[in-house]
């Protein structure tokens, strides 16, 4: 009984998602156009592509976005990595007997 309800719910959510993606998003492969009423032609990504090799001096635009335009996010991600590894190492401590 519970499993039938869950299956119907999952199928409904799946159908809703696939319908929404096909009907309400831009067609696949139109990068700088954004949909705000009409179709605009400016994006943050386009501005970064024009600016990044001069402003940051790196030939790889993705790395310059990760470290120069979004450096705080990467610092927070390093903190998350450190905390998770501390938690895993703490859960597997073997208590040694003092005798």
């Amino acid at each position: 009984m519970r499993q039938a309800v869950a299956l119907i719910l999952v199928l409904a959510v799946g159908a809703l998602l696939i319908f929404t993606v096909n009907a309400y998003l831009l067609p696949f492969g139109r990068f700088p156009e954004r949909r705000i009423g009409g179709f605009e032609n400016e994006s943050v990504g386009k501005r970064i592509l024009e600016d990044a090799p001069i402003t940051t001096g790196s030939a790889n635009v993705v790395t310059s976005v990760v470290w120069d335009y979004r450096g705080y996010d990467t610092l927070g991600e390093s903190t998350i990595l450190f905390t998770a590894v501390c938690g895993v190492a703490m859960l597997f401590r073997v208590a040694r007997r003092r005798s």
Binding site: G29, L49, V88
Partner: protein, 121 residues
């Protein structure tokens, strides 16, 4: 009717199915991984340009610096950077969830999340 979006949403639905119906913690974590992979595919497909090149300056384009034709032919670099961060966070979450699963098995003797509430001690 593009294939990328449909398959990304299909993966998301399969992940939700695993999380709702399976009765084993390890299988639920696998479903979490499938769900997150579907979302990453969706995010990267949002920034695609028809017939675009990778957003990396190489070869002949290095000689005259940043040109307007590079910015007119490259795909979006922002979703790629965000998905990089998200992949690392996903790895940390799954490592911690699997460690907790091992700990639960050692303590309770079962991996069924519906039976864990009823045991005491």
């Amino acid at each position: 009717m593009s294939l990328n979006y449909i398959i990304a949403m299909l993966l998301f639905t399969l992940g939700i199915y695993c999380l709702l119906i399976k009765r084993n913690i390890v299988k639920m974590v696998i479903g979490l991984g499938v769900l997150t992979n579907g979302l990453h595919l969706f995010l990267i497909s949002l920034g695609y340009r028809e017939g675009g090149i990778a957003p990396i300056l190489a070869g002949k384009m290095l000689e005259n610096g940043a040109t307007a034709e590079f910015a007119a032919a490259a795909v979006d670099p922002i979703p790629q950077a965000l998905v990089l961060t998200s992949i690392v966070i996903n790895v940390c979450t799954m490592a911690l969830a699997l460690s907790l699963a091992i700990y639960i098995y050692r303590h309770y003797g079962t991996l069924n999340p519906f039976k864990i509430r009823r045991l005491r001690g």
